[in-house]
Structures are given as C-alpha cells and as structure tokens.
C-alpha cells in the first residue's frame, strides 16, 4: 500500500532571516525536498530607471548608491564610467587610482559580508559573521575618513572623484592592508577543515560550466564554475591594465567553490591596493566638467567588475541634460536566473545555503 502524500506550498516570505532583504520564494515542498520554487520580486522596486530620466547626469549618481547598497562605490564607478564614455571625458590619473583603491576596498567589504552571511545561513550562529564585521568596520572607518559616509558614499563624480584623501588615510590604509592577510588566513584555518562546513557546502548547488554561461551568470558565480572571465582583464577599464593580479576560479561550481573564490578574490584585491598605493601620482582629482552636462546624442554601455558580478549601465542620450534612458544591468537579478534549476530536488537547509552563496542584494534585483 503506497502512502498518499501531498505537496504543500511554503512561503519563504519577504520577512525571513535568510533571504538577505525583502525577497520572497514560494517553495512547493514534498516533505523536506523542494519540488518547485517561484521567486517573487518587486518588494523593493522603486522605479530608479524611470526616476533617473527626470534628473541630470550628476544628480543620478545619488541613485546609483542605492542600487546595491552594500557596494556603493562600485556602483558609482560603473555609472560615471558609462557617462564618461558617452560624453568622451578624460579622467585624471590620480582620480583613476583613487577610484581603484576605493573599488577594491569595496570588493573586500562586500565579500566579507557575503562570506559571513553565508556561514550564518548555514547555522554558525553569528560567530564568523561578527569576525568579518570587525574587519569591515575598519574599512568603513577608512571610508568615513575620505568621504564622511559609511554606507552610501556618493564619492565619485563625472570626470573624477569628489574629494582628495586626507593625510591620515594612507598610513591607516597601510595598517589595515598589512593586517588583513593574516586575518583571512586565520579565518580560512578555522573553517576550511571544519567537517560540518565541508559537508554542508561541498557538492551542494553545483552549477555546471555550460549552465553558468547559458544562465548569464557573472562574477564569482561564473568563476566558481570554472570560467576565467573577469571584466578587469577582459575589457579593462580605469587603470586596471597596469596591475598584476590573478583571477581565481573554482572547479565544480558548488557552494564551497563560490565561497573559496570570494576568499581568494579578497587576497587579489589586497595585492591590487598595494600596487595602487605605490603607483599613485599627484595631480588633480576631477576634470573640469560643466555643472549641467549635455553629452552629444548617442549611447554608451559602461561595465565594471562589481563584487557581485558584471555591473553595467546602458545610457542613451538625446542631447539634453537628463539621460533619455538609463538601464542597469543587475548582476544579482541575472545570477538569480539559475536559482530554480539549482534548488529543485534539494532540501530546505541546502536551499538557504545555495541562495546565500549566490549573494544578492535586493536593492539591485528590484531597482
């Protein structure tokens, strides 16, 4: 006699400790195994793309902070890159180096949070997260020194950056960068050989190479599946072509590989910051750009390698002061396309681990 079973629908609703923000997943469960998942978006939809058409190009920089609010600097960088491509503006060298330093610090901070929250979702009860936050606090203090803000920086401007770094920044940065590798190593030691972390992350949520490319995954998700693709090397922007760094890739594309790729990228970011600090020249920090910029008619797409993937801004100009169309290529949303395939057939506990390893920020998903 076969047992009659039923599937039921469970809402990992907008308010849930593990869905990194207001994001909803409707699971269809058979016991503990997920049969189907339907992600529901739009809880944080603010209509940024439409709002941006009502403001000038420089006023739109403020909106970009709020897209991926955990990595504001890189958002700024992508947008001003797109505008500079559109209007043909050259950026002075010192500004480029400052942008690189800020962006790489942002990458370290975002990866610290991603790794910390992944471990929190697996169940390690805040302890690794708070260790990560201790280091992130130092980064936020550095940012506070430069632009006075800790979350939404609004630091970059069209044609450069808004403020120069104060004198106490360089020694503070040096202290932080020198202490960070030892900390990351200590962190690795605590967790790499922990059997429970290994069995919760290995072979869980494997994304094959072909799937990763087909799903347009980007960033650490793509690289963990074994594809060496990093915008900083493939389509170098700013002064990245002057630095020596590597692109860490994974082998299988499971949760463990994504976690390792992020940790390795932190090491690479440290190397980039060290080289940037040596090479940074004196000079201006912003080219003279008219207050109200009126680029010529045309279009441009500026892309950068953000911490979560390829972040790009597609700008269309009609010759006026406001952009005619601003489109954000959201890495979080596009990485989530693979979610349904990854989650089917998996237990709830693993679902949270996989979801945490994709590392989204809902501000970017919904815009």
């Amino acid at each position: 006699m076969t047992l009659r079973t039923e599937t039921f629908i469970l809402n990992a609703g907008p308010q849930h400790p593990s869905t990194h923000g207001v994001f909803r997943m409707r699971f269809t469960l058979d016991g503990e195994v997920i049969q189907d998942v339907e992600p529901v978006f739009g809880y944080l939809h603010r209509g940024i793309e439409k709002l941006a058409e009502g403001l000038t190009y420089s006023q739109d920089i403020v909106f970009t902070d709020r897209l991926d609010y955990l990595a504001s600097m890189t958002n700024n960088q992508a947008y001003v890159l797109a505008v500079e491509k559109l209007a043909g503006i050259q950026v002075p060298e010192r500004a480029e180096y400052l942008r690189v330093i800020m962006a790489e610090l942002m990458r370290i901070s975002s990866h610290l949070m991603a790794v910390g929250f992944l471990l929190n979702d697996i169940g390690a009860f805040l302890t690794p997260l708070l260790y990560m936050y201790r280091e992130r606090e130092k980064i936020l203090d550095l940012y506070d020194m430069v632009c006075g803000q800790r979350l939404t920086y609004n630091y970059m401007r069209i044609g450069g950056v808004s403020q120069d770094i104060p004198e106490e920044f360089v020694p503070a940065l040096k202290r932080f960068i020198d202490s960070l590798p030892r900390f990351i190593k200590e962190y690795e030691q605590l967790l790499e050989t922990n059997e429970i972390v290994l069995i919760r992350t290995k072979n869980v949520g494997t994304l094959s190479k072909e799937s990763a490319i087909n799903y347009s995954a980007a960033g650490p998700v793509l690289r963990a599946s074994g594809i060496k693709w990093d915008i900083r090397k493939a389509d170098p922007y700013s002064v990245y072509s002057r630095f020596k760094f590597e692109i860490p890739t994974g082998i299988k594309g499971d949760v463990y590989d994504r976690y390792r790729v992020r940790i390795e990228e932190m090491h690479q970011s440290i190397a980039i910051i060290k080289q940037a600090m040596e090479q940074i020249p004196q000079g201006e920090i912003q080219t003279k750009v008219s207050r109200v910029l009126k680029p010529a008619k045309g279009e441009a797409y500026g892309r950068i390698e953000g911490p979560k993937g390829e972040l790009g801004f597609y700008l269309v100009s009609d010759g006026g002061t406001n952009p005619y169309r601003l489109h954000v290529r959201p890495p979080s949303l596009i990485n989530l396309t693979a979610l349904r395939e990854l989650l089917i057939g998996v237990k709830i506990a693993d679902a949270m681990a996989i979801f945490g390893s994709i590392d989204i920020c809902v501000g970017e998903v919904d815009r």
Binding site: F8, I9, L10, H16, P17, S18, L29, G31, E32, L119, N120, D121, I122, G123, A124, F125, L126, T127, L130, Y131, R134, E192, T193, N194, E195, I196, V197, L198, I199, R200, K202, N203, K347, I348, A349, D350, A351, M352
Partner: protein, 373 residues
C-alpha cells in the same frame, strides 16, 4: 554558602543525609520541592546570563552589561518583559493543544531534578531506578514540542515538528546504550549509587560512552550543531513560531532546563557528581555542572548546524554501532576482569575508544560522499 553549612552538614565524606530530613516525609518533600524550584529558577537565569556573556566573548563583543553590575540583572529584565507581554492566541490554532503544549514540554524537564544528587544522599528522593526514571521522563517533553508544532497550524512549525520526531527518537537509543555502559560498571541504577561507585570518574573508564552520551543528549535538547529543529535561518524558530509571551517563556525555559538537566546528569554519571577534595560537595557539583555547560556553549558558538539527513545518518550509522560496541567491550570487561584495577581498565578503554573513533571517521560517510578538504 553559610546557610548551607549551618543547615546541611558539609563534612567532606559526608554521612548520607537521612531520606526524611529534616523531620519526616511530608516536611522533607515540601521543603525540598521549594529548594528545588528555587535552584531551578536561579540556575536557569544564571545559565541564560552565563551563555549570553560567554557566547559574546566568542564573538568578540561584550554581551549584556547595562542592567545591573556586569549585566547581572539582564535575565530578570528579560523575565519581566516576557511576563508583561500580551498573550496572543492566533485564530485558527487547535486551542486546547496549543495551550497545553508548553506545560507538557516544561514539566518533564523539572521532574528530572527529583533524582539528581546534590550531595551524598541529598536528592528529593533517591530512587533505586534513578537513571531509568530520567530516561523515561525526559522523552515526554518531546510530545509537548510536537504538540506545539502541530497545533500552530503553520507550515514552518509542522516541518519543525516532523524533524523533532525524527531526531529525538533516533538519538534516544545511543543515549540509553551509553548509559547502560555506566550502569554495568556501577552495578546500580540509583543516581547516588552511581556517584558513590566512582572511585575513578567514569569519563576515564568510558571515554567513548561519554562522547556518545554528550552528543546524543545535545541532539535531544536541540543544541547546535543539532539545533535544526528551531533553526532560525531556515524555518524561523520552528515549533515556537506562533508563541509569544509567557508560553514562549516556558519553551525558552524548557530549553535551558533541559540543558541544566543534561549537564547535571553528565556530571553525575561521568564526572563523579559531588565528589571532590577540599570544597563542600555542593560546590563541586555546581562547578562540574558549569564546566559541562561551558563545553556545550563552546560547541554552540563554534560549529554550524547539520542538515536533517546528516543528523539521522550520524545517529544510525555512527553513534548506534559505536554505542553497541562500547556496551560489548564494557560487558566483557565487567565479566572477565572484575578484579582488575580500574585505572588499567581506564587506560585500555581510552586506547580502544581512540582506535574506534579513528576507524569510524575513516569509513563513515555522512551523506554518501567522501569529504576532502
């Protein structure tokens, strides 16, 4: 402690307290019940405070330090807050079961304290089937948790209730088998008898049994790494998702009462209960209980949680065979070498345990995949 030295004799090798101290059956019962309740509440609050401070130090932060000196009145503030909360009963829950569930969960965890010896012979009642009583009673609180999960009419609670049944029932068996090893050595089921029989603490004589019992009882009381029954990240507090106010306080109290009970049982069975030099026995008992609880907190602060199929695999494929082997070895030692010095047996057992643990970790796969770093 002066109250205790005036009222209760604290001679080191204390003569057993008369079972009807101070003056007859009923006064013994009433006074001891009152003392136990005070102990229970006081220890629960002390444990809550202790855990919050210690976990905070693990997480490089300070922990509660505002209310009272060193934050000592934090648990009092929490209790007051919870007691004055509005008691919400959601609309479509199964009312009777919903209201009864916290009571069914909390009462067995208090009943366990009836047989735990605080000093030589000082227990509410020194049952001669003490440990059997404990194993029987502590399983009843599971029914309360499942009642809560079912009656809440909430899918998260239901998933949690199913997990509870699976996990708690599976870990009963290795737990009971580990206890049997201790009983074989001590020859008596009475808790006080077990403590008195420990010339060598049983943690040395039964290292494997200690580990098995420790892990199995952590799984019974839903502590990390087995706390998936109320995993906040996945099923958002599980069975007590619809509870607030005093009923939630009772569930919270259950968790800590079971932790105290498990620490007390481990102290009695494996660490030599109230035995120890120089200090009064009650103090030794408290020190050992706190030491075991500190170990439990340490594990909670460090390890992530397991998945339900890994938890089940661990119980049936790892702990159960090891517990049976432990029982077999202990039985052979008791039958064939009853006169051998216990220290030699302890040495043999430690070596055997190490060999068995290494052997199992080579061949044991939690989910079927070999894990390599």
């Amino acid at each position: 402690m002066s109250i205790f030295s005036n009222v209760i004799p604290t001679v080191i090798h204390a003569a057993p307290l008369a079972p009807d101290w101070p003056s007859g059956f009923w006064s013994h019962l009433i006074i001891f019940v009152v003392i136990l309740f005070i102990f229970y509440i006081f220890m629960a609050m002390a444990f809550i405070y202790f855990e919050r401070r210690v976990i905070s130090r693990f997480q490089i932060r300070i922990g509660p330090n505002r209310i009272g000196p060193f934050g000592l009145f934090q648990p009092v503030a929490d209790v007051i807050k919870i007691l004055i909360k509005e008691d919400i009963i959601p609309g479509n829950v199964d009312k009777i079961i919903y209201i009864l569930a916290p009571a069914v969960a909390v009462v067995p965890s208090i009943l366990v304290f009836a047989v735990i010896p605080f000093q030589n012979g000082t227990a509410l009642i020194d049952l001669n089937i003490g440990i059997l009583y404990i194993v029987a009673i502590s399983s009843v609180s599971t029914v309360g948790l499942v009642m809560a999960g079912w009656s809440s009419n909430n899918k998260y609670a239901l998933i949690s209730a199913m997990r509870i049944i699976a996990q708690v029932v599976s870990y009963e068996i290795p737990m009971a088998l580990a206890i049997l090893g201790v009983v074989l050595f001590s020859g008596t089921l009475s808790m006080n008898g077990i403590v008195q029989a420990q010339t060598v603490p049983y943690i040395l004589l039964q290292p494997l049994g200690f580990v098995i019992y420790f892990l199995a009882s952590m799984a019974e009381i839903n502590r990390t790494p087995f706390d998936l029954l109320e995993a906040e990240g996945e099923i958002v507090a599980g069975f007590n998702i619809e509870y607030s106010g005093f009923k939630f306080a009772l569930f919270f109290l259950t968790e800590y009462a079971e932790a105290i009970a498990v620490s007390a049982i481990i102290t009695t069975l494996y660490l030599g209960g109230w035995k120890g030099p120089f200090l009064p026995p009650i103090l030794w008992f408290l020190i050992k209980v706190f030491a075991v609880f500190a170990l439990i907190i340490w594990v909670r602060a460090t390890l992530p949680r397991l998945r339900i199929d890994q938890v089940m695999g661990f119980a049936w494929k790892c702990l159960l065979p090891l517990a049976i082997l432990n029982l077999l070895i202990t039985a052979c030692q008791v039958v064939f070498w009853p006169a051998l010095s216990q220290w030699i047996i302890a040495g043999v057992n430690i070596v055997l345990s190490a060999v068995l643990v290494v052997l199992w970790s080579r061949f044991f796969r939690l989910t079927g995949d070999k894990v390599e770093a």
